[in-house]
């Protein structure tokens, strides 16, 4: 091979590599990114069966039920609609009634959301950003300044 051919083959190899990496990235973004919904959004949103989503809102008062063992059921609400969620595992330390949560998982055919992870706020001033924005857009949220 001449020097020029060599250089071309190296460049072609590099480009092919970058192309493969780009393709993989966009494939993964299409497949693996999970969308965020509030309960009221779900009626309009068409979900494919088994699609992973993040469901956020407030933990509805009086709905936390501890089942046998480590399964917990509760409702997530945005004061317009509620979605029943079940979760097996340890709830975060800051999981409480009427507090913002984000749950991630899939819907069961009967409409119950099976979460495999539950995130709660990190401290008393903090509300998951998506939940705060969602509640604001629904007019539920009041700006409260604690300091």
């Amino acid at each position: 091979m001449t020097r020029k051919q060599k250089r071309l083959s190296v460049i072609a190899g590099g480009l092919a590599f970058l192309g493969a990496a780009t393709g993989l990235t966009f494939y993964a973004l299409g497949q693996k990114a999970s969308y965020f919904y509030m309960p009221a959004d779900l009626t309009i949103a068409s979900l494919q069966p088994g699609q992973r989503i993040r469901l956020g809102g407030l933990v509805e008062k009086g709905t936390i039920e501890r089942g046998q063992g480590t399964t917990v059921a509760f409702s997530v609400t945005d004061n317009q609609k509620q979605v029943k969620v079940t979760y097996t595992g340890i709830l975060p330390d800051l999981f409480r009634e009427e507090q913002g949560v984000i749950t991630e998982g899939t819907f069961r055919p009967d409409g119950v959301f099976v979460a495999d992870s539950v995130l709660a706020k990190h401290d008393e001033n903090y509300m998951p950003k998506e939940v705060a924005d969602g509640l604001k857009s629904k007019g539920v949220w009041q700006e409260s300044k604690s300091d």
Binding site: V10, L18, L24, T25, K32, A33, G69, T70, E130
Partner: protein
């Protein structure tokens, strides 16, 4: 004292402006006097910033709640260590630490840069001063840590309990030393662009700074990972959290820089690329600072969400990244391209390394920023988590890891891949053995897991092979070999150690992910549970009182084969009354390189407690490997060639590579 701190900070800002302008102008008009201003000003600026930082730390240590920042993030009952570390456990204080470290590195250049050509030194200090000036302005204008409260409150609002941990004492300073350390490489690059000349000696000056920054960043990330692992109680060591990614991207780019700088130093090739990488690495550090400090992301680290801050940092980001890249676009053509080499050579291997690492950086960048972009252009909110990164980052890393042992054994310019493969036969055999042993003798090992273990052994044995081959194993007598081994340059050991550390980390990750076991169950006092051959008995919950919290301690007895208690593991639920926050302290027992990890959940009405247990085989190797990598960097730094002021340096450099500057 507090006002002194504020005043010192204002002075430091003024000095950094002087540092940014005077030496730069001096270098243009070739005035020795003006160029010489940079050094003393940089050192004084560091002294003033230290004074300012000390003032804030003192306010924290003495619980001076008349300072708003202290009131917001401290409490008089906190142990002294957490009072002090609370100084940087908040937005304002952590920015002050950031600037402190920035000026520290500037002062280091001033102190150790006496052998640099005067214009280069002046320009480096000027760029460093400009970065310092913008960040000092940022602190003074939007995040003043010294604001007073009147009347002064009697009691503070406590530090976020998650941060009340020794991790806060170590993780941010190490991380910032790494993050901000890359500012030096950035300043060197911009200075080279301003001057329009770059030569091999430039790489020799930049490489030790890259090594230092990389070493601290490695430590910072490893420490942060371990902290998240034991403090958050989720048992994971890496979450692909945007903020973790923010520190990981400069690390990946910095690793690439470390390797391309070798090519530039030794072979005078890849000059323009190295320069660009140095700019990109620090740009990623700045981006990380923006992501963490602007509050655009939801994260444990997002202390404050004040939009003006976000906009300000975005301006800084645009100024430095945009400015340096524009300068690069204008000036890079004036720099000459370096020497040629065959694709199969040490240079070729290092280029491959760079290709993979920068692509990996790009995928992490895309995954981190994609949700922000999507939210900006449509109203959709999405999250990109571990599944995305596993699918993109994983496949990129595997071929790179397979290639690692080849690199150091290839010759410069033109290598013989078959000869290298022959030398690596032993390492390959060891890796193959590891695959077979794992697949045949460990229950439930998947093919994937076995190959993972094999890959880790390949890396570890490859690193050892490097040393063995270079000391002449098999071709010379053992005595000569030992002498040769002792005579090898430290950087050879540094490379081998860093690659060994990479292998150990890989082994830890594979062990934990593929062979770890997990159980969630609710337990009554006296019940026992089995997990991967370990028997644990729950002894019950015991209340206890800490200095600024109360806790319920769950005691678990680890039982020996005969049923006797061999050790006690405690996991507790702490409640901090001031912030009305609960945290979980996980219970960890280290057995060999592996760990038993347990975390306490809620108490049920029938008196049982939800417990989550993990058996994490080889998990400590993940961070242990990081320590070994740091040791490798330290070893390389001790190399005679790189040591500041080493007498033989200049002589060597002139012989090997001619200066490549253009008039």
């Amino acid at each position: 004292m507090v006002e002194t701190g504020h005043f010192a900070l204002v002075l430091a800002f003024a000095l950094s402006l002087v540092q940014a302008l005077v030496p730069l102008f001096g270098a243009r008009i070739n005035s020795q006097k003006m160029m010489a201003v940079g050094g003393p000003v940089a050192v004084t600026g560091f002294a003033l910033t230290s004074l300012s930082f000390a003032a804030l730390a003192t306010a924290y240590a003495t619980s001076d709640f008349s300072v708003a920042n202290v009131w917001d993030n401290s409490h008089s009952l906190q142990p002294l260590i957490y009072k002090i570390t609370g100084t940087w456990g908040n937005h304002e204080g952590s920015m002050l630490l950031w600037v402190l470290i920035l000026t520290f590195f500037g002062a280091l250049v001033a102190a150790f840069g006496s052998n640099l050509p005067a214009p280069l030194r002046a320009n480096v200090l000027a760029v460093q001063g400009a970065i310092g000036a913008t960040f000092l302005l940022f602190i003074l204008a939007t995040s003043n840590p010294f604001a007073r409260l009147n009347p002064a409150p009697i009691e503070g609002r406590d530090l976020n309990p998650i941060l009340q941990d020794l991790g806060l004492a170590i993780h941010p300073p190490l991380l910032y030393l790494g993050y901000v350390g890359f500012s030096i490489c950035f300043s060197f690059s911009v200075a080279a662009l301003i001057e329009g000349r770059i030569d091999a000696s430039w790489a020799r000056w930049v490489r030790p700074w890259t090594l230092v920054a990389w070493m601290f960043l490695t430590g910072g990330i490893a420490m942060g990972s371990y902290w998240a692992y034991y403090e958050l109680g989720w048992g994971g060591f890496w979450f692909w959290d945007p903020v973790e990614n923010a520190s990981f991207m400069p690390w990946l780019a910095g690793t690439a820089l470390l390797h391309s700088a070798i090519v530039m130093e030794k072979r005078s090739a890849l000059k323009i690329w190295t320069l660009l990488l140095a700019i990109l690495t620090f740009s990623l550090s700045l981006l990380g600072t923006f992501l963490v400090r602007s509050g655009v992301l939801t994260s444990v680290h997002a202390f404050a969400t004040d939009p003006t801050r976000g906009v300000f940092i975005l301006c800084i980001l645009t100024l430095f990244i945009g400015g340096s890249l524009a300068l690069f676009a204008f000036r890079a053509s004036r720099l000459t391209a370096g020497g040629l080499f065959h694709p199969i050579s040490r240079e070729g291997a290092l280029v491959l390394n760079n290709l993979f690492l920068t692509t990996a950086t790009a995928t992490v960048l895309i995954g981190t920023l994609y949700p922000l972009v999507v939210e900006a252009v449509s109203a959709d909110k999405i999250s990109v988590g571990a599944p995305f990164f596993n699918l993109t980052f994983g496949p990129l890393m595997v071929p790179l890891l397979v290639a690692v042992p080849f690199g150091p054994l290839l010759a410069w310019k033109r290598g013989d891949i078959f000869a290298v493969a022959q030398r690596l036969m032993a390492a390959f055999a060891a890796a193959l053995l590891a695959v077979l042993v794992t697949a045949l003798f460990i229950d439930g090992a998947s093919v994937f897991a076995a190959l993972g273990v094999g890959l880790a052994f390949w890396l570890i044995c490859g690193a050892l092979t490097d040393i063995a081959v270079k000391s002449g194993l098999g071709s010379v007598a053992p005595g000569i070999m030992l002498r040769r081994c002792a005579g090898l340059p430290r950087s050879v050991f540094g490379t081998a150690l860093a690659h060994l550390g990479l292998g150990l980390t890989t082994l830890g990750i594979v062990g934990t992910l593929c062979f770890g076991t997990e159980k969630i169950l609710s337990m009554h006092a006296g019940e026992t549970v089995q997990l991967s051959g370990h028997t644990l008995r729950f002894e019950g919950l015991y209340p206890a009182q800490g200095p600024n919290y109360s806790e319920d301690r769950g005691r678990f007895a680890l039982l020996g084969a005969d049923g006797s208690t061999t050790s006690v593991i405690t996991s507790s639920k702490r409640s901090y009354p001031v912030r009305q926050m609960t945290t979980t302290e996980s219970g960890i027992k280290t057995i060999g390189f592996s760990q038993l990890y347990l975390s306490l959940g809620d108490e049920a009405t029938d008196g049982s407690v939800v417990v989550r247990l993990w058996w994490k085989p080889l998990v400590t190797l993940i961070w242990g490997g990081g320590l070994v990598m740091m040791a490798g960097a330290a070893m390389s730094l001790m190399d005679r060639r790189l040591r500041v002021g080493a007498p033989s340096r200049r002589r060597k450099s002139t012989g090997a590579v001619p200066s490549a500057s253009l008039p």
